[in-house]
Structure formats: C-alpha cells, structure tokens
C-alpha cells in the first residue's frame, strides 16, 4: 500500500465556543492496531466520526485510505472501504441477526458472505434471533460482524467493550486481535487502560482535545512510566537495613521492602549484598503500566465509566 491508512494534520473541531479537538496530528500505518486512549469528553468520538466522514472538520487536513474526508467523491470511496462499530451499536430491533447482516451487506457492491461472518463470529445459533432479544455482548459481536461485512481495509471501533462484563470483554479482544491477523488496520478508541495496552501496537493518549503522547506501549512506559521496582516480599527490618547501606531510596511498606531501580546493575548489587549475609528472600520485579503513564501525563485517573477522576 505504501500510504498511511490514516493521516491527520493539525485537526481542529469546534462546536461554537467549545474546542472539542485542538490541533492534533498523527498517522496510522496499514496493518496496525492504533488506540486512542482517554476519558469521556476528550474528543475521541469526535475525531473518529470525522475520520468516518460522519462529521465535518473545522480546520486541518485528514486523509483516510488516501482520500480526503472533506471532499464528497473521496467520502464515497472511503465509505466503501471502511468498517464502523459505533459506540452503543444498534441495528433494526425486530429483524434477526441474519436479516440485519444481510441489510448491511446489501449496502455494498461486493460484500463478504453473511454465512461466513455468522460462522466466524460464532453466531450460528443466534442467526434467527431478533436483535432486541440479544445480550449486550452479542449485540456488540453482531456490530463487529457488521463492520466487516464489506471486507474493509480499515475498521473503526469506537469503545468496543464499554459496558461489557470482563469475560465478554476478553472475548471481544480476541476478535479484535483476529482482525490484525486478517491484515486489517484497526482504529480503536477506549477509556480502558488495559484494553489499550493489551491490544494496541501504538497508543495515542488524548486529554482535553490534545494528544499528550503517542507511541508503542513499551515506549510510553519507558518514557513516562517512571522507575521499575524490586519488591522483597516480607523482607522485614534486616533486609531493609542491609539495603539501606547501598541505596538511599529503599522503602518499607506493609512488611515488604521496595527498591526502585533504573539499571540492571542495581539488582545485582542488591542481591549480592543479601546473599553475603545469608538472607534468603522472595523477590518480584514490578514494571509500571500504562495506567501510571496516563496518570503522569494527564494528572488524573479514569474511572470504569470513563470519567476523569
């Protein structure tokens, strides 16, 4: 392909006086899972809907699959090649799963096989069930199937697991990983840290309409996550006293001894010191997560409901 799947330059979206998206730029490469991570109201859905050609932009330049979203023929071509799972996906209530998928398939010139989608998503038993009789997780699965009905090159998933219970959420993650396996580019928005960390090749952290940081989960953690820590489980005063001679920053907490470190050399020094004194301890290495990255960048955490805390 060569071209970026999505290319956004200096995108701004205003609603009256409110600036929902404030001069953001990023690119999404073909074949990657790219996540927009941020709380409700950060501008995630606004950005996605601009990329999906469902909302006009105020200023900036946005190309999706090489087409300009601001121009009508470009929009028509993008719509043929993209798949969309909106927040709170709904289909026609009184039509069955199969009838709904057939409806979406009929919107395209060369749709995928509805039978195959039903099989891939394990919907065989639900194919004749009306949409309004499905659980939230199944509705979402139908939504993902509908997003793939045109064999899209690029799939937008707007909060794909919000409101789902943990088990269904994990199952949905498997489905999303499968999309990468099939060569699709995935643009995902979420307010779940773990979801972004587990799924995304790259994450953009979006706060108040601006991108605070962008990179692979590893890069973000390395840059913004702070130090890693050795935990000496139930180390007690002896361990603390010993390590204190070598390290100023050692700390005790609930009987555990915590030693933040930046180089592997520090781990060796600590372990040698303890071995010399014949102290046997259980250790664990703790790395920072995206959650700590987010806290550092945004200055707040996100609740399970997606609100800033």
């Amino acid at each position: 392909m060569g071209e970026s799947a999505v290319r956004v330059q200096h995108l701004v979206k205003r609603y009256g006086d409110l600036v929902a998206v404030n001069d953001i730029s990023f690119e999404v490469q073909p074949g990657e899972i790219f996540a927009f991570l941020g709380p409700n109201g950060a501008g995630k859905t606004t950005t996605v809907e601009i990329l999906e050609c469902l909302r006009p932009l105020t200023s900036g330049e946005v190309t999706v699959l090489g087409e300009n979203v601001a121009d009508a023929p470009g929009t028509a071509r993008i719509k043929k090649r993209m798949g969309v799972l909106p927040q709170d996906f709904n289909a026609l209530r009184r039509l069955t799963v199969r009838e709904n998928l057939e409806l979406f398939a009929a919107m395209y010139d060369n749709p995928a096989s509805v039978n195959e989608l039903i099989e891939v998503f394990g919907l065989q038993e639900k194919a004749k069930v009306r949409f309004d009789a499905l659980s939230g997780g199944l509705k979402q699965r139908v939504g993902v199937a509908a997003a793939l009905v045109n064999n899209p090159d690029l799939v937008f998933l707007d909060e794909p697991t919000t409101g789902l219970d943990p088990e269904v959420r994990r199952a949905t993650w498997e489905v999303i990983r499968g999309l990468r396996g099939r060569g699709k580019t995935v643009f995902l928005t979420t307010h779940y840290m773990q979801e972004a960390e587990e799924l995304a090749d790259r994450i953009a952290i979006i706060v108040k309409g601006k991108i605070a940081a962008i990179g692979t989960p590893g890069e973000l953690i390395k840059t913004y996550g702070g130090e890693r820590t050795i935990v000496f489980t139930k180390g007690g005063d002896t361990v603390f006293g010993t390590l204190r001679r070598y390290f100023d920053n050692v700390a005790a907490k609930n009987g555990d001894v915590l030693l933040p470190y930046t180089q592997t050399r520090d781990v060796e020094v600590a372990l040698n010191a303890l071995t010399e004194r014949g102290l046997k301890v259980e250790i664990a290495l703790r790395s920072p997560t995206i959650e700590e990255v987010f806290l550092k960048l945004a200055g707040f955490r996100i609740t399970a409901e997606g609100e800033a805390k």
Binding site: Y15, E49, E52, C53, L54, R55, P56, A76, K79, K80, M82, V84, P86, Q87, D88, F89, N90, A91, L92, R93, R94, L95, E99, N100, E102, L103, F104, A106, M107, Y108, D109, R130, A146, N150
Partner: protein
C-alpha cells in the same frame, strides 16, 4: 436501486413485526370501520321509528280503517311503526318522558282516536294526533309522511283520483351507503396516522438508537434511505386499502372500488404523510416528544378533515380550517375516485396532495441528518 430495495424490505419487515405497528396500522382502522359501519352504515335502510297508539275499536265484519292506516304507514318504507302498538291504556305523555334517550331524542308518537274507523266510513272529519320533539330534525319529515298517508285516505273516501304523481329516481349511478363514505375516509385517516405518528416515532427512534448514523457510514445515500421509507409507507397504505375494501364488501356489501386512480391517490398520500413523518422526526430529537407531537397533529386533523362526518356540516370557521389540512384533500380525492367515480374532482384534490407531498418530502430530506454538525 438494490440498496433502496434492501432498505424498503428491512423497514417494512421491522414495522410489520411490531405489535403496536400492526395494531395501529391495520387492526385499529378495521375496528373503526366495523364500529362505524354497524352504527351508521344502515340507517337509510331501516326507516324512522314511529310509535302508534290505536284507540279505535275495530268492528269484526266491516274493514278496519285504523289497521289499514297503520299498514299504509309501514308500506311507505320511510316510517317503521314500532311493534307492538301502544295499548289505549298507555299514558302518552308519561311514555314520551320515560322513552326519551340521549341520541334518539324524544320518541315520535301517533295517536289514533277512538271512533276513527266509524268517522272515516261515514265520511266525517276526524284528526289523528302526531307528537314529536322540536329538537328532532326528522320529526317534520315523519309528519309529512303521515299527512301523505292521510291524504290517500281522503282521496279514497272522496272517490277522487290523483292528478299530479311523483316518479322518484336515484341521483347517482351507484347506490351509496354510509359505509361507502367511511372506507375512503378511514383509509386516508389511518394512512395519515401511520405517517404522522408511526413513522415519526420509528424514524426518531432510529436516530436515537444510532441506526440512521450507522447506515450513513455505509455507501447508502440519504435519498435512498428516504425513498426506502416512503416506499414502505406506500405499500402499507395499499395493504390497508385492500383490507378496508375487502371488509366493507364482505361485511356491508359496500360498492367502493379500487382502480388505477385510487392506487395512484394512495401512493401520493403515502408519500405526503411519510414526508410529514420524516420532517417531524428530523425536527424533534427526543423520540417521545416526537411521537407526542405526531399525536397532537394527527388527532385534530383526523376529526376535522371529513373522515367521520362531511366537512360541509361543520361551522364555517372549522370548514376553513379543514381546507388547510392535507388529510382533507386525500379523503376527498379518495372519495371522488373510490365511490363517486368523479375523476376530475379527484384530480384537483390529488394535485394539492402532490404539491404538499413534494414540499414535505423535500423538507423531510433537509432535516434528516446524514452528516452531523
């Protein structure tokens, strides 16, 4: 085209699977037709009820003039003498008091005096007494019939013959019944409620639940979405008309017909009311408010557009109001083509419907959101 077909099929199926949709688009109009057909459908056939008190004693051998008078009243077909006739012992004033009803008004009573037969046979003058309420609009009509029967007796006794006779012909080629009036009226009225209430609430629900937005993210064009919805309403309207006509024919031997003009009128009407439904759904965001507004518009329109009674019997200010209601033109147009066979009048009415249809479909398209702001 295939996208329009797919939308049309999906929307129609979704509608027909809704219990309330089915009830309001088919069962409800059928109930109305049955109720109106049964209450008002046959009033012309049965004639006007008249109570008779006969105080005349009949001699066994000679002809009984009072009995003959009653028989002559019945044979007019306009008046039906209530059976049994009131006994001489009945107090007529008390009878009228106790039989006054809300809708029928006071009963009409004819009192034949004692000695009626004896006086008639001798050619002596004698009066029958007719009592009716001043509020009874048909009272004088029945009085006229009684007087005409009495004149027949006078001719007979005097041995005179009629010089001027009456030959009565029907004004229209088809014999119309009240139920014929209700079939096009109710069909039009319920096409209107399907569009203005049904489509309004469904379309705004599609919008709230995100179905419209999800479809707008596919190659589906806005006009295809609108045409699919309008087609669905048109097919529902034709189905409704077929059900109403079949029912009217089977249950009331109605003479309504379904011809090409009528089908065209039904389709135009469906386009008009889907346009109004789409417009309301586009203007009001909340589905409940939208369906409330739909009801607030539909019900007055239904009662003021000549569905249940002719517009001509309403006060003048309501008549001029009816003239601005779209339903009036569809009801009249359907009546012109379905029962009167007056196609030039139908054309005039349908031109108004077509013009309104264009306006509202364009308005509906304008306010239907395909791209957010």
């Amino acid at each position: 085209m295939s996208r329009i077909t797919a939308i049309f099929k999906a929307i129609t199926r979704n509608w027909l699977r809704s219990r309330s949709g089915l009830f309001f688009s088919f069962l409800f109009p059928v109930m109305f037709l049955l109720v109106f057909g049964s209450v008002f459908g046959n009033t012309n056939a049965s004639g006007y009820t008249l109570y008779v008190q006969n105080n005349d004693a009949c001699p066994g051998s000679s002809p009984c003039f009072s009995q003959n008078f009653i028989g002559a009243l019945n044979s007019t077909k306009v008046v039906v003498v209530n059976s049994p006739i009131l006994a001489p012992s009945v107090n007529v004033t008390a009878f009228i008091q106790s039989h006054s009803r809300f809708f029928g008004g006071n009963p009409r009573v004819l009192v034949i005096p004692s000695g009626f037969g004896a006086n008639v046979s001798r050619g002596l003058p004698v009066n029958v007494t007719y009592i009716s309420s001043p509020a009874d609009q048909l009272g004088p009509v029945v009085g006229g019939v009684i007087s005409e029967v009495a004149n027949g007796f006078n001719f007979q006794v005097a041995g005179a013959r009629r010089v001027v006779g009456l030959s009565h012909e029907s004004s229209s080629a088809r014999a119309l019944k009240n139920v014929d009036f209700y079939v096009p009226g109710l069909t039009a009225a319920f096409m209107m409620t399907n569009g203005v209430i049904g489509l309004t609430s469904i379309a705004s629900e599609f919008r709230r639940s995100g179905v419209t937005k999800r479809l707008s993210a596919t190659p589906l064009r806005k006009y295809e979405w609108i045409v699919g919805n309008v087609l669905s309403q048109a097919v529902l309207a034709l189905l409704l008309a077929l059900v109403m006509i079949a029912l009217a024919k089977v249950a009331y031997q109605s003479n309504v017909s379904l011809d090409g003009y009528t089908i065209a009128a039904l389709v135009l009407g469906a386009i008009l009311f889907s346009g109004i439904g789409m417009t309301l759904a586009g203007l009001v965001k909340d589905p409940e408010a939208a369906s409330g507004l739909g009801n607030a518009i539909a019900f007055p329109m239904m009662f003021l557009s000549g569905t249940y009674w002719p517009v001509d019997i309403m006060p003048t200010f309501l008549q001029s109001f009816a003239r601005v209601l779209p339903l009036t033109y569809l009801s009249d147009g359907l009546r012109d083509s379905m029962i009167l066979g007056d196609y030039s009048a139908a054309l005039t009415n349908m031109l108004v419907v077509s013009a309104l249809a264009v306006v509202f479909v364009l308005l509906g398209a304008k306010v239907t959101i395909w791209k957010e702001r």
